[in-house]
Symmetry: C2
Subunit: 149 residues, 2 copies
């Protein structure tokens, strides 16, 4: 049973196009599996999602990263699962942050042209979902479909 | 009355993140205004859209650019409106192509960091919708909202 369980998706800077497609896809997949899903992101990432999903058909809850991090630190909120999207050194720090502050089971979703090298640098407990995807979402979608049924 | 009228959206290479968000937003806006909407794009652009809009809630018809161009040339299909998204020199050729082959009223949606310079190079009849947006979709969305009520 996943009813009542909470999942957080964390989007970094939206410069690699696959991030938003996969985040929306994964959010819906988790919701259909019974999770209460929140998508956090940088200001631009959240705006891109809100314009694309204008009717909130796929994603009902979005929140700014700068808002959710203190709330987790202060134990006002926490999640059962956390998927951190990363494609750059800067993005890698989000995974480390959520690993440190949240009790959620952490999934590191690593993509972009340096995905494999970046994934090797993850030194905190996380299930890694890694694909070299930048413009074509299919490799990353297939990896996600293997982890989340 | 726009009932029965057809609109085509043309997406180029998806490297600038605002393209997909704005294309999905505009597609829905045109559909709500009564247009039969088709979204054409490169293979990666269409895949990104299909993964993000997995239930076809916002976009019902997608087609590969390489398929639709010959169909318009051979007069098997045509549109009343055509919105060509462009953010690079390569993308600018799509606008010129659709200007040449289609009888549709053409809108050149020009974005990315060189949007203003690119827009000046358009030398075919087109209504220009221009915003420097790359990661933040709001400037381009606002321009579109002024053109399409």
């Amino acid at each position: 049973m996943t009813e009542g369980k909470k999942a957080l998706l964390v989007m970094g800077c939206p410069e690699v196009p696959v991030q938003m497609s996969i985040a929306v896809y994964l959010a819906q997949k988790l919701r259909k599996a019974g999770y209460d899903v929140t998508v956090a992101g940088t200001d631009a990432a959240v705006k891109l999602l809100r314009v694309a999903d204008f009717d909130s058909y796929y994603v009902q809850k979005t929140v700014d990263l700068d808002q959710i991090i203190p709330e987790i630190v202060e134990k006002k909120i926490d999640f059962d699962l956390c998927f951190a999207f990363m494609h750059s050194d800067a993005g890698m720090t989000y995974g480390a942050t959520f690993s440190a502050i949240s009790r959620a089971k952490l999934y590191a979703v690593v993509f972009g042209k340096n995905a494999e090298e970046l994934a090797k640098t993850i030194d905190y407990p996380a299930e890694k979902i890694v694909a070299k995807a930048t413009h074509n979402p299919t490799p990353l979608k297939n990896k996600i479909d293997r982890v989340i049924l």
